[in-house]
């Protein structure tokens, strides 16, 4: 394999692994902050125990998220040096701003929260987790602005043999970035809600700590329900954004080969990438794709065959990622609506609780599929329409990348196993017992 393919695999491995931990950080930090705020407001010790229990899971998850995040920053330089050189003026500054305004805050206060239970007043302690939650989500804002610039570059000019910034505001406020942010954090909040519901369901099925886990479940449910609705509605709007910004991605995610007026969507499609057609198309919804992309059932949607062959993304992978993401997104909406109807009689619905327990991996799958769609669907471009991925790779020896890729796979597998084992362990053990004596505080 050549440096390009190895570097792509390595970047994919590092990014997908990192994103196994990011979404839970984004959503669970907010849930814990709400729990602790409720504790401060009501003085109800159970909310404090909730913050501590979910906080332990949060900390394990957070640690892996942090250490694997450095990899991503390093990799732009190590493996994609030509990219870094070409777009550093814009992309690099966004990453630097992310570190300055958000990551410092998050990394500094997470320790204060973890170790400060007896050093801070209850109120000040609750503030620290809010700082972590806000900083984590602010981090996502900047990272997604940076990624959106790769998807839909704006506010730049090609000068001095590279892309140079001309309009900072255009870069940070472009609607593509806003959409991508809303979509990504929605996915993160759904995932966090499902993790909380799934673990709560485990204990509710065993009829243990029922008050504790009923409360937890309902908080996770509220978060997941609200953002399932947001994700579906906004995801629909995203279709039009993609159609306008990246017509090749749209054609690939629908596996549309021929340009069509009033293009339908099919319930079942089997793409045949080699012969540039679909082996099977079944269950047409007339005009649905035109409607999704251009808000009119009569609109014309350009097919893959009308794009140069060297500008088409891998079709099957893009298509499958899209279907998995959308299918799961709709399932989450269904499950959370059912949950809402059963929210006051959870223990009487063991079947539903079991479904929720075994659903924990699904939002992970959906989130990864979403990123696969965003990144694979953008190929062969690293910056859409501006720079091809093949032109972005570092002038380094393939053997170096082969060794580092192997190391990543080994190390990350071990770390992932350790992290999920520890999280599952804490989750199964349940919350600490109720303390009889109220702890002394230094107020």
């Amino acid at each position: 394999m050549d440096v390009l393919m190895l570097s792509r695999l390595q970047f994919a491995a590092a990014t997908f692994f990192h994103f196994l931990f990011v979404p839970l950080t984004l959503g669970l930090s907010i849930l814990i902050a709400i729990m602790e705020t409720k504790y401060v407001r009501t003085g109800d010790e159970e909310y404090k125990r909730m913050a501590r229990f979910w906080g332990k899971i949060f900390l394990i998850n957070f640690a892996i998220g942090v250490v694997t995040g450095i990899t991503l920053e390093f990799q732009f330089g190590t493996n994609w040096s030509r990219y870094s050189q070409y777009v550093g003026d814009i992309f690099g500054s966004l990453l630097a701003i992310e570190a300055t305004v958000a990551f410092f805050l998050e990394s500094t206060f997470i320790a204060v929260w973890a170790l400060g239970w007896n050093r801070l007043s209850a109120k000040a302690h609750a503030v620290t987790i809010w700082l972590v939650a806000v900083a984590a989500n602010l981090s996502a804002v900047w990272i997604l602005i940076a990624n959106s610039w790769m998807q839909h570059p704006v506010g730049y000019v090609i000068r001095n043999g590279r892309a140079e910034l001309t309009d900072f505001l255009a870069v940070v406020t472009q609607s593509y970035a806003i959409h991508q942010f809303v979509h990504t954090v929605s996915a993160a909040y759904i995932l966090s809600g499902f993790v909380v519901m799934g673990i709560s369901a485990y204990h509710l099925l065993r009829k243990q700590h029922t008050s504790f886990f009923n409360r937890s479940f309902r908080m996770g449910l509220a978060m997941a329900l609200i953002f399932s609705i947001v994700a579906v509605v906004q995801g629909h709007m995203n279709g039009a954004k993609v159609a306008a910004a990246q017509p090749t991605k749209l054609a690939a995610m629908e596996s549309l080969w021929e340009t069509k007026q009033g293009a339908p969507q099919y319930l079942l499609v089997v793409p045949d990438e080699k012969n540039q057609k679909n082996r099977l198309e079944w269950g047409a919804i007339p005009g649905a794709l035109s409607l999704l992309a251009y808000h009119s059932t009569e609109a014309t949607v350009k097919g893959l065959n009308d794009f140069p062959e060297d500008e088409r993304p891998p079709v099957t992978l893009t298509f499958l990622s899209f279907r998995i993401m959308v299918g799961l997104g709709l399932l989450f909406l269904l499950l959370t609506v059912i949950g809402w109807l059963k929210r006051n009689k959870l223990e009487e619905s063991p079947g539903f609780l079991k479904v929720m327990l075994y659903s924990i991996p699904l939002p992970y799958l959906a989130a990864e599929a979403g990123w696969a769609l965003a990144e694979v669907g953008r190929q062969p471009w690293v910056v859409y329409g501006v720079m091809k991925t093949s032109a972005a790779v570092s002038p380094i020896a393939a053997s170096q990348v082969m060794i580092s890729l192997a190391a990543f796979v080994l190390v990350y597998s071990a770390l992932g196993a350790a992290a999920f084992y520890l999280i599952a362990n804490h989750a199964r053990k349940g919350p600490e017992p109720v303390k009889v004596q109220v702890e002394e505080r230094r107020d």
Binding site: I60, I70, E73, F74, S84, S93, L95, S107, N160
Partner: protein
């Protein structure tokens, strides 16, 4: 001008990173030599626990600023030093995970494994960062296209190894002093007597490194060729660095641990800035041909980007310094055994 301001900030970011994470890396390396039992080991972890993560972000910031302000330097440095950087990266991953996962381990064998990880993963970045910076001071074999013509092993030349050794000793001393600040009793005494020994080794390596710098690098050229321009740094940086080095010994003798540690901060910052100022306007001097060198001028971002970034830095860096100082203040007390009983303690 704008690019030169960013060059100074770039140097300062590295200096602050070394000053802060330096004690974590030093302490992690020292752990098996100072901590004799489980309680003492947990004390060592607790001494860096509240800080390591916030400290490490200075590295991310230094990397991010290289990317943003000097993209070409970032591209050539990171791809050229690929293997060294990957080793540093994996070490930092293991270091962070060792600190955060050790407390979750319920079996002594697991704790032992994390302890090994911590020591190795603290030593390696200290060494390799020193090797990398020494090589940058000396010049690395980059050609006209900015392609690195060496290997990981060509970085391990005598001057590079000396730089690595100097960094390791500087961080070991810094870590020992921090442990003396943070602890009482046996552990404190051991850290203090170790610091006194390390001071001698560190001072010797500092002298050796400075002398070797004369023969292996062109850092002194700046100081000699532009005496007027370098009047301030020429007087201040070396003098302050040497003074701080001496003061460490003085405060050690007086058993004033905080002051000794702050003096050690002065040495680290001074040594870093001494090198960086000598480098100017180069960022990555080419050892093949000076014309291929990457400089502040030929590798910087556009003025607009530099201006925006400067605005962000001027607002947020003071804020960061303020809240990090608060956190240091909050956890500045001596560690007690009762601290080990707390929720989430290490």
């Amino acid at each position: 001008m704008l690019a030169s301001i960013w060059f100074i900030l770039w140097g300062v970011l590295w200096a602050v990173y070394f000053m802060l994470d330096g004690f974590d890396l030093g302490l992690g390396t020292l752990m098996p030599f100072v901590a004799k039992n489980e309680t003492e080991k947990r004390m060592v972890y607790s001494a860096m626990g509240p800080f390591w993560n916030g400290n490490e972000v200075w590295l991310i910031a230094a990397g991010g600023v290289t990317f943003a302000a000097f993209p070409t330097t970032y591209a050539v440095m990171f791809s050229g030093l690929y293997s060294a950087l990957m080793l540093i990266l994996f070490a930092l991953i293991f270091r962070g995970v060792a600190i955060e996962f050790r407390r979750e381990a319920d079996h002594p064998q697991w704790r032992k494994l994390w302890d090994y990880c911590l020591t190795l993963a603290s030593f390696l970045p200290a060494l390799l960062l020193g090797v990398a910076f020494a090589n940058i001071f000396q010049g690395i074999p980059i050609d006209e296209e900015g392609i690195f013509q060496g290997t990981l092993f060509s970085l391990l030349n005598p001057y590079g190894i000396l730089g690595g050794l100097f960094f390791v000793l500087m961080f070991l001393l810094h870590g020992a002093l921090w442990l003396a600040v943070k602890t009482e009793g046996d552990l404190h005494d051991r850290a203090a007597s170790l610091a006194a020994k390390l001071w001698i080794a560190m001072a010797a390596s500092a002298v050796a490194f400075l002398v070797a710098t004369w023969f292996y690098t062109r850092l002194y050229d700046n100081y000699l060729q532009n005496p007027m321009f370098y009047m301030v740094p020429i007087i201040l940086i070396p003098l302050l660095t040497v003074a701080a080095l001496v003061m460490i010994r003085v405060y050690l003798a007086k058993a004033q641990w905080w002051r000794a540690w702050f003096s050690s901060c002065g040495v680290i910052v001074g040594a870093t800035l001494f090198g960086v100022v000598g480098l100017y306007p180069n960022m990555l001097p080419s050892s093949l041909n000076p014309a291929y060198s990457l400089t502040v001028h030929n590798s910087s971002s556009s003025p607009l980007t530099l201006k925006i970034m400067l605005g962000v830095a001027l607002i947020f860096v003071p804020v960061i310094i303020a809240y990090q100082s608060y956190v240091y203040h909050l956890f500045s007390g001596k560690l007690k055994e009762s601290d080990l009983l707390e929720e989430s303690s290490y």
